[in-house]
């Protein structure tokens, strides 16, 4: 994201103008824009005009609109962000108070105004504009008959293609259907790799599987590449890394990112940091359950006691519709920071963020043990979700 101007007063109110430059910036924008903000951007509006003869015609015009945000909608596949709201600045084409949906576009600037830029929003802004954080990876997580071709950026894991085919098993006396099935499957995966991975951008391509699928696939892919003289693959051969995973399901990506050969070869990614933090949480839960809490109530309790050493929190909590709910989480974050705790905001688009989301979205590793709260704090969390 390119920051054009930032105008925030001492009461934390103000506007920021920025230009999204890549798909991931849309995700950042999605996490920044909340209900009640004002958003100014150019857009296409359909206008109806009445000619002198009384017939109507409609035409599309580009105009700049400012709306108060009522809802946002993010399409993870296409990385398109739609923001719906009411017009607050009358112009030639659109009346005051009329509804409009702004589609944020790449390379077109927008201005976001907030009554209050809280710490979480400011962090997000910094993160979005920090170019050093970019470390795009592609990963193919596979097992026989199943492959996920994913793109892993610093805050998103996008499944670009899922190949799910049934491969006949080996049968007594005949493996030909099996072998044919495997070849067809590999061909499909190669197609997906070529279609979805931009080798100019990604730093590396991880191929992960249990057993020998990855080796067999890698071998086959480069055999084919040479046979068909596919320069893209041949020139980028050095970017491929083979890694063990326990399955071809998407959540196995967590193991993949934690593999030492990944962190050694490629810069530490945010996804990796999150995976480590989550592992730390679980090992604390194992070793000293009174130093590992989850669920908002329990974690707040620990935060009050200034006991939180690391706070793990999923970013989707800050996208809460209600301002008060967001404020509660922001306060938790600020409180932990004040007491010198570390805050890790997980991206809900990463597999670890998904897992944390399932685990109530918030968890904490404590500095010192606190007896497990008597009143079943977890209670409210589980009823929350029903």
């Amino acid at each position: 994201m390119k920051l054009v101007s930032k105008d925030i007063d001492k009461n934390s109110a103000g506007g920021v103008t920025m230009i999204p430059e890549e798909a991931e910036d849309m995700w950042h924008a999605y996490n920044l824009i909340t209900h009640g903000d004002s958003l100014r951007s150019t857009t296409i509006r359909k206008v109806q005009t009445e000619t002198a003869t009384g017939s109507t015609s409609s035409s599309k015009v580009r105009t700049t609109l400012t709306i108060t945000v009522e809802s946002t909608d993010f399409d993870t596949q296409a990385c398109v962000l739609r923001v719906k709201g009411r017009n607050i600045q009358e112009n030639q084409y659109v009346k005051l108070g009329a509804y409009h949906t702004l589609d944020l576009e790449l390379n077109r600037k927008f201005t976001l105004g907030k009554p209050e830029w809280d710490s979480v929003a400011l962090d997000r802004l910094d993160q979005a504009c920090d170019v050093t954080q970019h470390a795009d990876l592609a990963a193919v997580v596979m097992q026989e008959g199943l492959a996920h071709v994913c793109l892993v950026t610093s805050s998103m894991t996008l499944v670009r293609a899922k190949i799910d085919v049934s491969i006949p098993r080996k049968r007594k006396g005949s493996c030909s259907q099996h072998d044919k099935g495997i070849t067809r499957f590999y061909d499909q995966v190669i197609q997906a790799v070529l279609r979805h991975i931009n080798f100019d951008i990604v730093k590396g391509v991880l191929i992960a599987s249990p057993g020998f699928v990855k080796d067999q696939f890698y071998e086959y892919m480069f055999q084919q590449a040479i046979k068909l003289d596919n320069r893209t693959l041949i020139d980028n051969k050095s970017k491929f890394v083979l890694i063990h995973s326990s399955s071809g399901f998407k959540h196995a990506l967590k193991e993949v990112l934690q593999d030492p050969s990944v962190s050694a070869r490629l810069a530490d990614t945010k996804a990796l940091g999150e995976a480590r933090a989550l592992d730390d949480f679980y090992s604390m839960l194992q070793n000293d359950p009174n130093r590992a809490f989850y669920g908002l109530k329990h974690v707040e309790l620990a935060a009050e006691a200034q006991a939180v050493e690391v706070l793990l929190v999923s970013d989707d909590l800050f996208r809460a519709q209600e301002v008060s709910t967001r404020r509660r989480y922001v306060q938790l974050v600020d409180g932990v920071r004040e007491s010198c705790g570390d805050v890790k905001v997980f991206s809900s688009l990463h597999v670890t963020g998904e897992q944390l989301g399932q685990l109530s979205g918030v968890a904490a590793i404590l500095r010192f043990p606190i007896p497990e709260p008597e009143s079943d704090g977890d209670d409210s969390d589980s009823t929350d979700e029903n």
Partner: protein, 691 residues
Amino acid sequence: MSRHRAVRTMNYDDEYDFDDVYGHSVEDDYCVSPGTDQIPEEDETMGDKPEGKGSYDEDYDPLKDSSNFQRPPLNPIDEARLNSCLEEMRNIVGETTPEHLMIDAVLRSDFNYEKALNDVLNSQSGKTTEPKSDIACRPKIFMIGGDEPNEGSVVTAPQEPQVTRMTFSTGNQTNSGFTPEKNSGMDVETESSNPACRDLGDSFASLDVKKSASQAKLDAGDSGSSNNTPKKAPFLLKTKLERLDVKKEYAKRQADGKDFINLVVIGHVDAGKSTLMGHVLYQLGFVNKRTMHKYEQESKKLGKASFAYAWVLDETEEERSRGVTMDVAQTRFQTNTKVVTLLDAPGHKDFIPNMITGAAQADCAILVVNATRGEFETGFDAGGQTREHAMLIRSLGVSQLMVAVNKMDTVDWSQLRYKEITTKLAAFLKQTGFKESDVSYVPCSGLSGENLCHAPKDTQLSKWYTGPTLAEGIDRFRSPDRMIDRAFRMCVGDIFKGMGSGFSVAGTIQAGSVQVGDRLVIMPQGDICNVKGIAIDEAPLSIAFAGDNAVLTITGSDMNNIGVGSILCDPMLPIKVTSRFRARVVIFNIDVPITKGFPVVLHYQSLNEPAHIHRLISQLNKSNGEILKKKPRCLTKNMNAVIELSLSRTVCLELHKDCKELGRIMLRYAGHTIAAGLVTEILDKPSSKTE
């Protein structure tokens, strides 16, 4: 008696509940499960031996009887032609014409469908103008009547697929296992998708005839009319009777002598499983000398001469070149008393999902351990697969186990080493929930072939070992009671293109039976399909039962509408489908505690599906099943708990109390088995999911 049967099955389940769920606990204290109130009946019912296997018509010689049978057996191609003609004809004449008439017509017309159809239509309108030749080529049915089912059986030409058999139940069924159930509900569902057939069979009870089919037909009509059946009824009735009588067919197969078992071979990677079983197959004559010679030559060329016997089972190029089994190999062989479906599982940690698929189909197991010094220990210690495999099969309901202490040649057949290994294993297996009396041990060498099928020749072994050989050990396995009188269930393990029309689906029939011509429903997809053909080990059959590992040829549906893990069901009583359910689980030895939100892979029969633990409902007392804590924050090793799982796609499941085979699940995470469980509650719709 029929109720009795249902109860027995349930109790039997419950008995295994303990072992299943609590077997892994380090403590040996068995608990009382919620189903304990039914236990008292158990002793009595357990003694109720399975339906007279073996004793059934022992001196009946199928060949002798079939000499009366004049129609030549059909080869598979004719079979297929016959089937397709029948299908076409059925489309025209509906179900009103008895199938055997149609078959006759088809055969007479030499598979000319139009001609056959004309014949059928003519004969129907002209009533009984059946040509003489007809009688000659019609299957003959002999009914040797009697009160005892043990004495009575329906005899038709064996191995004669597709011939319509007119079968009537003999009267007063006293054999509990085969008593027809007319109550509704899973437990007591009869064998067919067409329950009416059972009822009709009963109405013809006590047919005590030995006649040609045409006469039997008339008789059937008579006895039918004496039951106030209208005059025209015989035709209608007979159509319904076209389906084979399941219990008779099953009894007939039992009478053929050998019990069927599904045997899985498990153990740590490179323990010698494939070599051992490959050698057994060779010694028993199921691999011919020429093939074996070829394997020896070719494996030598690859520098893998020691794997020659393993090549019998490791058939893919990848497996052979790497010397590692990757997927379960399946083959059939016979010992003196058993027909064995062998499932050679891979030992490599990464292929445990395949191993689970194999083990889910098994009745009994051979655990192969490597006696070589240091090697047994590697396989047995943490990180080795010996323990995990043993725990897995126990949780999957396999209770009979033979341990093959293999590679004894590498330790000079040392009795001391043998003792050391068996002692260690015995303690562990007991803890895992195997009854001591259900576990046996055999020293052997898969490579040299010592003590596999012949008594040991090596004096180093024979001087101290006088027990059974491996093959004798297999003979001692007991074939479990099959649920042939339940609603049909077959879990799809493999889908492939067959020879003719449609496609083939392979898997183990978990419950009920299936016949050529049956309509089935594919779950969870809900597609209806037809069974065109049935084969076991390449031999075409007209009926297959629970426990059989069969290949069904399917038409009427598309190959893409079915996946590995789909379940073929009786359309009247399909399996339940859900994306959310509860299970009572035992947590295995895990490093990291389980919380809600945990992503897992759900293993259910041949299905592997990503799921996550939606919430932890309660932690249970290991020994009595009482709730210790509601909504625990986390679960750690060896705990018992009730958890709720949710999936992004729907899957088929059965409650464990309804069907023990289909009520078991395994959960794995990051390459480790973290829990085994029993399905206790199937939740309808996800009640507003968290996201």
